[in-house]
């Protein structure tokens, strides 16, 4: 099988994530789009791990998964705090520091 096929799938997932990050204004959905970006990067790592017959890609994918878990925990906590203080989760209403 051509190695370009899984890489193109990963690029498609990445583009969907980019679209989500740019177009969403719900804080939780923004974080979901970031998850798609990270998963596409993981898919690339796994495919290259298989292509090069080297387990390094698997190890790095594991670290990325762990770091992502931490990122989501903090992200959801920030969204909850936002909702409690402003009664909204729309990220484009956070323009206090906008020039």
């Amino acid at each position: 099988m051509y190695v370009a096929a899984p890489l193109l799938l990963s690029a498609f997932m990445f583009s969907c994530g980019v679209y989500g990050v740019l177009a969403r204004r719900h804080g939780v959905m923004l974080l979901m789009a970031v998850e798609l970006l990270i998963t596409s990067a993981n898919l690339n790592l796994i495919v290259f791990s298989q292509l090069l017959k080297n387990s390094l890609g698997n190890i790095i994918a594991l670290f990325i998964i762990a770091v992502t878990a931490a990122e989501v925990g903090i992200g959801i906590a920030i969204v909850m705090l936002l909702y409690r203080q402003r009664s909204t989760v729309a990220v484009d209403e956070l323009h206090l520091m906008k020039w």
Binding site: Y2, F14, V28, M29
Partner: protein, 161 residues
């Protein structure tokens, strides 16, 4: 066509459709379920490409913990009913995403257009665990500290005092 190739195309179609559904739907809970489907498809692809441990860790951590955390975030903020989903830059965002995909696809096709991958190497959990606790033990401990710090930080942020 060989069996793994057929399996790849089925899983790839499933993952692509659920990914598209995740970013296009206007219902927050549907989006979270689409994300779960997309991550399960990605985990199946990981297993297909020989990364059994990473695939199972993906299902455990992403689908089991992260998506449930998203559900908690949606339910506790009570925003599932109010339409605050998208902003007004959808066409520009679609344009940017299309441009990103075209650039990435051009790079992939020109670099790996004729290269083939075979599903022959599986990375056993024994090997990964051995590497993780010998070569990679320092990053492993750093990630442990990072997770602890994130846990404490999340509690401090979300605590009602």
């Amino acid at each position: 066509m060989a069996l793994p190739t057929i399996a790849f195309w089925i899983l790839a179609a499933f993952t692509a459709v659920s990914t598209l559904f995740t970013v296009l739907t206007r219902n927050v809970v549907h989006s979270a379920l689409g994300l779960a489907a997309s991550l399960i498809g990605a985990a199946a692809l990981f297993i297909l490409f020989g990364a059994q441990f990473v695939g199972l860790a993906q299902i455990l951590i992403y689908v089991g913990a992260v998506v449930i955390l998203f559900m908690f975030g949606i339910m506790l903020t009570g925003t599932a009913v109010r339409p605050v989903v998208d902003n007004d830059q959808r066409p520009a965002a679609a344009l940017v995403a299309l441009a990103v995909f075209l650039v990435l696809a051009a790079g992939i096709v020109s670099s790996f257009g004729t290269k083939k991958v075979r599903f022959q190497v599986a990375f056993p959990t024994v090997q990964l665990g051995h590497q993780l606790f010998t070569t990679w033990v320092l990053p492993f401990e750093a990630v442990s500290i990072l997770l602890l710090a994130a846990l404490v930080g999340a509690i401090v942020l979300a605590r009602r005092d």
